[in-house]
Symmetry: C2
Subunit: 261 residues, 2 copies
């Protein structure tokens, strides 16, 4: 439910670029829930993680591609988009930041490589509750019907519940029809990752180059993980933190490591 | 102490680029502790976070700039360097990965933007114990005497103690002479961040562009943080995790959020 007294300001971004179908579907899902403002990369930025642009300046240009929705494309990374949106477009913090809908999964360790999720994490660092959405279908022709339904449901839930300002959720949606999805599960991040295998090729001048590829391997047998939920046709929600301190290891090192300086 | 029966393989990388003084100082600090192999970016990659290169292929070229130390420069990000080193240079996992010594602080939230730390985190994801080192001095003429001393001490500690294969430490060293440093503290990550303020300029054609700048603000009054330790002339060690699940929020949402699908 939209709050009565205040129309929420909803900042929308992504990492597939402003022309990707995923961001258009996310805007469609929420445009009647508040004032929507879009600031997104002008080109694909998948796998950019939490990169920021330091060595070169950024450009920001207004675009008219979403009807009457205010929208800007930015030359920077997804994290740059959030920073610029707050400082130079909105001039204040939005009520919520939503990122996506990503074309492809961002479950398990992918959260750390994902530009979609890094944009959401950046918002939470800046005290803006946020959600990143990803659909388990890389195709540009993916069917976003179920993703739109669940994105709206989860955004309404967040807007209607008092949330800590640093809240950030990683939502993944199975590639399935709405009637095939069994519901929503709150999960932990699975320990599952890509096992790298670079493909080696030679250019026309005989010099080597490498393409990053990899096989996804799940090392985690838990039934409380995002990977388990998605494999069983649930929408997964993993609450994410940006305090990376490993507290149990901290305690152990305090007891066992001694330094004489 | 170096292990008796096995000369440890030490992978060295950084984010300031292979020609930065920081990586040369790190190599100097450890070259007699085992077999050192360097794979580092061919250009500065500060602020690249956990970015990986997907859309273009990578190049890897052997360089002879560290005497008899085997070294390669890579066209990719710090994380790409670690992945390529394991798969195409070492063909197996090194005993330890060390990253840095970064020119500039990577305490508090900087851990999330830092290419230096992301390289170390990538190693830990790949089951290689790792440490990222940063000196609180951006200058290319920085004095690394204290940084070398403490880097070696902490690496020796890790090599001589059985560590979980996913261990990753974020080490920051004050900009001070060795005799001014009071010792080493195991810390948590401070909640401290840059408050953004983009500088707006106009190019010769009258079009706007933006430079990212910011003022560092510490919101954390704890005396157990990395920021506190460094301000009091201690070397800070923060153990880092890559399971980003916010467990206490997970528990809260499980109790309070209900979805009817």
């Amino acid at each position: 439910m939209v709050k009565d007294k205040h129309e929420p300001v909803i900042l929308v971004t992504n990492d597939d670029g402003i022309s990707a179908p995923g961001i258009r579907n996310l805007i469609e899902a929420v445009k009647d829930l508040g004032k929507v403002v879009v600031v997104a990369p002008d080109k694909p930025q998948s796998g950019m993680g939490h990169a920021i642009t330091i060595g070169i300046p950024l450009r920001l240009n207004k675009v008219n591609i979403f009807g009457d929705i205010e929208a800007y494309q930015c030359t920077g990374t997804p994290v740059d988009c959030v920073k610029l949106a707050v400082d130079k477009v909105l001039h204040s913090k939005p009520d919520i930041c939503i990122s996506g809908i990503n074309h492809g999964a961002n479950h398990s360790i992918n959260v750390i490589y994902s530009g979609t999720m890094s944009a959401a994490v950046e918002a939470a660092i800046e005290s803006i509750p946020s959600i990143g959405f990803s659909l388990l279908d890389y195709s540009l022709e993916a069917d976003f019907t179920a993703a739109r339904k669940y994105a709206r449901m989860i955004i309404e839930q967040m807007l209607s519940t008092p949330s800590d300002k640093h809240t950030v959720l990683n939502v993944n949606i199975p590639s399935a029809r709405p009637e095939e999805i069994k519901g929503v599960k709150i999960c932990r991040q699975a320990y599952a990752k890509y096992e790298e295998d670079f493909i080696e090729r030679h250019d026309p001048h005989g010099r080597k180059y490498y393409w990053l590829t990899g096989e996804f391997v799940n090392f985690d047998e838990g039934d409380d993980t995002d990977v388990w939920a998605l494999a069983n046709n649930y929408v997964s929600i993993v609450p994410v933190q940006f305090d990376l301190t490993h507290y149990s290891l901290k305690e152990k090192l305090e007891k066992t490591w001694k330094f004489d300086s």
